[in-house]
């Protein structure tokens, strides 16, 4: 008989390992500090209450990312106005001023993208997940991930061209 091995990771350990990753994912998605913090807080609360069995660390990470993305989508759906990050807002989360400026630019470029396009761009280009891994994380087909990436890239290029 094959027994599935399950692992447990404490909330503290999960937070220490993945809070930065989830926070930047949420901040990039929502372009709003409060929303990003709310999303992350919610993700960890859900993790602490989760009754799910995790196979390994990657399974936990993937679960956290999925929940975080879903939470960001919820926030985006209920938001009526376009959000902008100000460089002063993020000084305490990004030490380098140049990088802070670049990061604000990135959120501006992504701001007009539909949430589903942001997902693939963030996961693939910034979190470094392969297209196959994105399919599992987002629960969509390989061709859908490729299509979203292509359209997202086109939209980003267009935006960058417009801004010169």
């Amino acid at each position: 008989m094959d027994f599935q091995k399950h692992i447990q990771m404490s909330l503290t350990e999960a937070f220490e390992r993945y809070s930065d990753m989830l926070y930047r994912l949420a901040l990039t998605h929502t372009a709003n500090r409060e929303d990003a913090e709310d999303a992350c807080q919610d993700v960890f609360i859900r993790y602490s209450q989760a009754k799910q069995h995790f196979k390994d660390d990657e399974h936990i990470k993937a679960w956290l990312i999925r929940v975080c993305i879903n939470r960001c989508h919820d926030i985006s759906r209920h938001r009526k106005i376009r959000m902008h990050l100000d460089i002063d807002e993020i000084r305490d989360v990004i030490a380098d001023d140049t990088k802070a400026e670049e990061y604000v630019q990135l959120t501006e470029i992504l701001a007009d993208l539909p949430a589903k396009y942001k997902d693939v761009i963030i996961l693939h280009y910034y979190e470094g997940y392969s297209i196959e891994e994105c399919t599992r994380l987002l629960g969509i087909s390989l061709s859908a991930v490729k299509m979203r990436l292509m359209r997202a890239r086109d939209m980003m290029k267009e935006k960058l061209t417009e801004e010169g």
Partner: protein, 154 residues
């Protein structure tokens, strides 16, 4: 990919210090009733309230001839003790004769009434127990073979 140049900036984002405080120092909260739970409970109550009378309407009162009923000849058995076990407040009426010890008000629980029957018209001896949901009719009959009374639900 134009966006790659922002990769370093993206990776340098750190979660704010107060997030750790919010997440790790959060007191475990008692799970409040969610809206869905309240709706489920309300639905259950509505179902119970609507089904319970239906259940009651299916249950009949328990009516028996008392063990001490006269088992002798019909001519002397004009007083029949009837044991009633009523699970709801009910009134009791008889088609023949009268009920001794019963003033016509609603009664509930285990009650023994004496049914004074007119033996001249034994072909029509019914006892009706009526509550808020239904009326249950029992017919009293005399068996000459074993010289006994019995009461059966119609």
């Amino acid at each position: 990919m134009a966006g790659y140049k922002y990769s370093d900036a993206y990776k340098s984002i750190k979660a704010p210090a107060d997030l750790a405080v919010k997440v790790l120092n959060r007191k475990p909260q008692k799970k409040a009733f969610s809206y869905k739970s309240l709706i489920s409970i309300a639905a259950c109550i509505i179902i119970l309230v609507s089904v319970f009378p239906m259940y009651l309407s299916f249950t009949d009162p328990d009516v028996n001839i008392s063990a001490s009923a006269p088992m002798t000849a019909r001519y002397i058995g004009t007083q029949i003790p009837v044991e009633l076990s009523l699970n709801r407040r009910s009134s009791v009426t008889v088609s023949n004769g009268s009920l001794e010890g019963y003033n016509g008000e609603d009664i509930k629980g285990s009650v023994t009434l004496i049914w004074n029957i007119n033996i001249e018209v034994l072909n029509d001896c019914t006892l009706t127990v009526t509550d808020d949901f239904k009326a249950t009719v029992y017919t009293l009959s005399y068996n000459e073979n074993n010289d006994s009374w019995s009461i059966n639900k119609n």
